[in-house]
Structures are given as structure tokens and as C-alpha cells.
Symmetry: C2
Subunit: 240 residues, 2 copies
């Protein structure tokens, strides 16, 4: 009991790292289930390799990924956050899923694509490449699925969902890169890029601009896109 009051806290160490297509916080989906076309694998820390730590996980469909969001910032003096969907209004950080929170701990529910030995492949990932993983826990409906529930304030605000289309030039760019083998899985990658942008990654300061240009890095590509006429267009795609 005394130990639990340890004032300096506890040391946690990554069991591994996420390898994903997301290279920046900007554009990375805010919830894993929103990113059906994302793919990732887990790179185990050396001390856990080859010892069957994932054994049994292959029988489940989903896994909780408990991560240390190393790019997030939390200032002790700001315990309130402004969720994008609330358009400026504040809630307590514990009443939100904001990535900027005490201890930077992330919780993502991902789909298990395959799991063989140490090779764990996931879909529905919202973590930047290189994010340290602290734990993985199988999804268990008995424990994780209440029969009756309420989504609180989030049920009252519409999710951000825009139209995003590739310009002819951007589609050509991607095709050329694929034919040069500089891009793998171009169809999935295009769907992933559309998914990322459709969720509207713009910072609040840009929401009122009628015509604005942006760029996001994903899977080794620099993806440029515009917001105009209430929709997004991907204008061109090039290797970083």
C-alpha cells in the first residue's frame, strides 16, 4: 500500500514499437476504428523476441494496444482540452479521448490481421510510426462490451466527415510511383490517404479559410491537398 503512493511514479518500458504508415501527428486518425485501410506491425523489443509472448493472440479478432504517445504534450497547468468536434468548447481531459493527457497513455482497439510467432500484423491503427507499445491485451466481449451504454457528449456532436478526392494528376503520380515500385499496395494507400483527409485533420485556425493548401507525410510520400468548396482534393503525391 505504501509502495502504491510512490511519489516519483513508476517506470514503464516499451515491449515493442509500432511500425505504421503514419509519419506525423498531423493527419494521423484520432481513433483506430476510423482507419480501416491502415496497416501496421509490431516490432518486439529484443528481450521479448522468440519467446512466444503473443501465443494465443491469433485466436482473437481484436487487440487493445496500450501505447506511450511520445509525441503528445501535456502541461500540468492545463487539465482542460478543446476536442475538435466541440469547436472551441472545453472539457476536462479525463472526459475526453484527447491524445494530450497526463502520462501520455494511448488506448487503441485494432483488428488482428495475422499473428504468427513474433509477427503480429494489425489493421485499424491510429499510431504514428515508432510509437512505443507498453502492453497488448486481447479484446474480450465479457469484459469490454457493456450491454447498455451512453456515448455522453460525443453523441450530440456530428463527427467530422468530408469528401476527399484525388485529382487526375495525383492519381497519375501514385500510378507512376507504383509502376516504378516506389509504392506498394497503391489501391490501399489511396484509400488510406482519402480516409485520413476525409476525417478533416485541419487545425482549428484553418477551419475558416475558404481555400488552403496542406501537406502530409504518409508511407514515405509527401501528399499535398487543398480544401476548397467545402471539400478536399489531393493535388499531387511525391516521394519525400
Amino acid at each position: 500500500m505504501e509502495e502504491s503512493f510512490s511519489p516519483e511514479g513508476f517506470q514503464v518500458k516499451p515491449i515493442g514499437w509500432i511500425r505504421s504508415d503514419f509519419q506525423q501527428k498531423f493527419g494521423t486518425p484520432r481513433q483506430a476504428t476510423l482507419a480501416a485501410n491502415s496497416r501496421a506491425h509490431v516490432e518486439l523489443a529484443p528481450e521479448y523476441k522468440g519467446r512466444g509472448i503473443f501465443q494465443g493472440l491469433e485466436s482473437f479478432s481484436h487487440v487493445w494496444v496500450v501505447s506511450y504517445m511520445h509525441l503528445s504534450q501535456f502541461k500540468k497547468k492545463t487539465v482542460k482540452v478543446r476536442p475538435p468536434r466541440l469547436g472551441g468548447a472545453k472539457v476536462g481531459v479525463m472526459g475526453s479521448r484527447s491524445p494530450d493527457r497526463p502520462n501520455n497513455i494511448g488506448l487503441s482497439l485494432s483488428r488482428i490481421v495475422s499473428c504468427e510467432g513474433d509477427d503480429l500484423r494489425l489493421a485499424e491503427i491510429d499510431l504514428v510510426d515508432g510509437t512505443p507499445i507498453l502492453d497488448l491485451k486481447p479484446y474480450l466481449s465479457q469484459a469490454d462490451r457493456p450491454e447498455v451504454f451512453s456515448d455522453g457528449w460525443t453523441a450530440k456532436v456530428p463527427p467530422r466527415d468530408r469528401v476527399c478526392e484525388f485529382s487526375e494528376k495525383a492519381a497519375q503520380d501514385l500510378e507512376e510511383l507504383a509502376s516504378q515500385r516506389k509504392v506498394q499496395e497503391p489501391t490501399r494507400l489511396r484509400a488510406l490517404i482519402e480516409e485520413m483527409i476525409r476525417l478533416d485533420p485541419r487545425a482549428p485556425a484553418y477551419l475558416d479559410r475558404k481555400d488552403a493548401q496542406f501537406a502530409v507525410w504518409v508511407a514515405g510520400l509527401n501528399v499535398r491537398f487543398r480544401f476548397h468548396d467545402e471539400r478536399f482534393t489531393v493535388t499531387d503525391v511525391e516521394p519525400i
Copy 2:
């Protein structure tokens, strides 16, 4: 990216502590949803008091409690565990919800009973009194509730569920303590004790004993119980 490979890991600090009726690992339910009659509150760390950190949480029905299970033990050399329901068979620790795991991070889905200012009251708790809390996140069906899922190997093994009854003496003990005001909410407490024991907290070494006696501490009480004729009987209840 370099920072994310920090070999010494990361420091996490409790945002607060759980105050529950569970005083030992023995008897504490292994999943929060199994303990409908448990109640707990969250004691905020001094630096977060009075600042609205829970604001917004009152609108949700459920909350993820991310805890540091300070009583758990994990030995680096044992990455396999023997879940009680598998009767001796091993799985990888990441393929299980065992509390003994790297980083000792717990994930419990609890029901929000009430939330006013800093006063957060929870039901469906599986955490020992004094467990440090690292984070709280509202349950969000959009992110946390896959439409199609599989419970993996747990779907193939029956959950432990026994009969547990109070003896006449134990029921009298509890009534007397209630009339002396040494026990609050005796009806709920009796239901909680039955719930804890029904889930069969016996260690594997005791499973084959035909008649065995046990004791568990809960809510300031020493509760003695027997296993006999394939069922549990609570024999007597006294203050610790």
C-alpha cells in the same frame, strides 16, 4: 523518433488512487464487469484537485480505468502465463488478460455511478484498494465496440461460476455488525461477498481439495468460507 527508443523507458505518475472494498489480490474479481456489486471512488492526486479534470465524464455511462497494478509481479523470464480457466495450459502473456504482465498496466471498464466535480463514483471495479490510476478515458462505442469480433480461446472454456451461500451464522454476524454500525450497506456487501467467492478465487493447488477453508479481507471484514460438496459456504464474518 529517437526519443521513442529511450532504452530506460518512461516515467508515469498516478493521477489518483482507487478506493475500493478489495483489500487483497486474493478474492478480487479478475474482470470489472463480473463485480456488479463493487463500488469505488477515485482519490485525485493533490495537483489535480479542484480543476475540473473530470468535467464531461458525467455524460458517459462507462469509463476505462488505466491502472498500475502495484501488487502484480512480472518476471522477465516468464512471458507465458497459466490462465485459471485453462486449468494449467500456458498462453503468451499478450494473448491473455493476466494481471501479471510487463509494465503491470491494468485496463478495467467500470460503470460511472456519479461524477460531480472531483467526486467520481464507480461500480464494476476489479482493483485492490490503493491501486494507482494512470488514466481515465470515456467509453466510446465508435472507437471501442467492433461490430464483428471473436473472443478467441476464452470462448471455448467455460467461465468459473460456483454456488456461494451465507451460513445462518455468517448472515447473523453481518446483521449484528450492521446494527452496531460497523458495516454499511450490508445487503450490497453480502451480494458483493457472494459475487467474489462465486467466481472461485481458489489457487490451482487447492482445486482438488474436497474440503478446504479460506479467508478473505473485504471492506474491513475478515470473511471465512469453505469449499465442500462442489459449492462455497461463508461460515463467519468479523471485523479485521
